[in-house]
Symmetry: C2
Subunit: 349 residues, 2 copies
């Protein structure tokens, strides 16, 4: 089959790799119908993390079950399925506690799995899923073409935006500031709206992203950054600050901005993958009782909850995809996101 590999910063290729085969009895092979490029894929692409030459890439995909191992019970050949951005069993204590990203048998796409086998990357034609019963969620029926981008966001970005909002304690009547106007930040706006937030301020200086943010539910937009951004955002809340700030970037600067913006007793919900060495001074949290809650989003735990609203068209998170390319053009997909020509690129194998 063909699958995407990275050989060095900026060097993305579509290559011929071995077809996956069933091995453990608990696995399934999925034919990828749609995959995409994540902001976090750009870390290797930009050389911020040095990629191992020839590594498989991609961790978001939806597709059709092609074959299943003997012990698989919850999905069958022909099912349309959504995969979270990791493989998990959904039976261990951490999965039961709602934190499937800390599954005791966790593995990441494109890496060695818990059983000593290999879990393919998501940006390819097929993926072997080690815990088919835990990882995959099937849709009520085969979706229409239109629905596929929206379903694909349950693999990562919509679930991650939802995690930011839940971590920030967003609910009916909450006031929210979202830092980050990438796909995750925009999905955090949409998730906050869906959870009943009263006011949602999006920090963004890009017109197209501002526009989509407003359509997703942002009631205000602030273009300033840094200290000026903090002042402008707080000013919208009588200088006190909002109940929640959702940090969807991951830099020191964005975290500092989040902590400085939220009201006393409020919560920073953070999902931005932290740059190495980022740290938060405890004193900046202590005096005003600012809470910090978040992390790598356990999106598998959210798929069943979010699926009905996505399936029914109540929310359309797939609108974050503003470019669709064939898998053969995967290098261009990375370049378009790297250069911020696209918010998020969908890939069709």
């Amino acid at each position: 089959m063909r699958a995407t590999t990275i050989h060095a910063a900026g060097d993305i290729r579509l290559e011929q790799v071995p077809d996956p085969v069933l091995s453990t009895g608990r696995d399934a092979i999925v034919r990828v119908v749609a995959a995409c490029v994540c902001g976090s894929d750009l870390w290797s692409y930009r050389g911020v993390r040095v990629p191992k030459a020839g590594s498989r890439t991609g961790h978001e995909f939806v597709g059709v079950v092609e074959s299943v191992g003997d012990d698989v019970e919850r999905v069958s050949v022909g099912d349309f399925v959504i995969a979270p951005f990791y493989d998990c069993d959904m039976t261990c204590v951490n999965c039961a506690n709602g934190v499937s990203t800390s599954c005791l048998e966790l593995s990441w796409w494109g890496s060695r799995d818990h059983f000593g086998g290999f879990a393919d990357g998501g940006q390819g034609e097929f993926v072997r899923v080690p815990h088919a019963d835990g990882t995959l969620v099937k849709t009520p029926e085969y979706p229409s073409e239109d629905l596929i981008p929206h379903l694909l966001t349950l693999s990562d970005v919509f679930g991650t935006g939802h995690h930011a909002a839940l971590s920030g304690g967003v609910g009916p009547g909450t006031t929210v500031v979202v830092i980050g106007d990438g796909a995750v930040g925009l999905c955090a706006v949409l998730a906050s709206k869906r959870l009943g937030a009263e006011r949602i301020v999006l920090m963004s200086r890009h017109e197209s992203r501002q526009a989509l943010g407003r359509e997703f539910g942002a009631t205000e937009v602030v273009a300033e950054r840094g200290e000026a951004g903090v002042d402008a955002a707080k000013a919208l809340f009588d200088g006190i600050g909002p109940d929640a700030v959702l940090e969807c970037v991951g830099t020191s600067a964005s975290m500092e901005q989040a902590v400085a913006t939220v009201r006393p007793g409020g919560t920073v919900g953070f999902v931005g993958v932290p740059a190495e060495g980022n740290s938060v001074p405890v004193q900046s949290l202590f005096g005003a009782n600012v809470a910090l809650r978040g992390g790598v989003a356990p999106v598998r735990n959210y798929i069943e909850e979010l699926l009905p609203d996505v399936w029914g068209g109540v929310v359309q998170p797939g609108r974050v995809f503003d470019l669709t390319l064939p898998l053969a053009d995967v290098a261009e997909a990375y370049a378009a996101m790297d250069e911020r020509r696209a918010i998020k690129v969908l890939l069709q194998p």
Copy 2:
């Protein structure tokens, strides 16, 4: 009147100072019946923070209202009252949000108040309370002598332990590890028990503190520290960790231990006054979705809620006082706490 002052590290004196007088109409003067020494008072005493020579000290007191300004409505002359460790209005947005430590008119005992006057320190014979209606809470009637130590803990340590537990999300069935066997840590054990925690592990290597911890509700005690302490505490929870860790110390080491001990998706409730420069690496929170919630405890917001159980003897947080001295011996009170000869010292003017 006589009041306690600090002149340099280790130099605590009881001195003659001006009697407080009513000034704003919103204030009251309280005759102190009982005060005490706080772990945080030791920061200046040890020279970790350089004290301004002659500063008044003490921030925990209960007493009797001696006189009130014309605009005071909620307390009257003769009332027995509890004061939190700060002065606040209880009418501003932050007080209403439950964070009276961020009151827009906040001041600290022994410092300039919001109106440009002076709020006396708690370790003295009298205290002028700038926002009498906001700050003071009267008891149902004049308490018996036995009750006074317990009521005094509502000024700080029991409310702070309660804040640690609430911040850590402690409720019925929760599993908890408490780091810190000082008065606050012990009160965090008691507060966790009161809130319905199922298992409470106290990290302590001092026999008398372990014993009081067990009486307060600790189901297990771990004497190891650092990495060995993390391993021992986690081992009690199948290697996964407890739902909540309550950090009641404030050092880098204790915060690191707390983050390393809690289970994935769990919460560190922190109330230890952070040593300067303490910071938490975001990566240590991100991967396992460890939340950090806490800060300087808004104990004023808790007094009404906690008072009935204290008044009724359901909880006896005043047992943290293991030494009672006359105010004249305040220097010895500091020394006893500094040398860990006493958990907490009560002072009688």
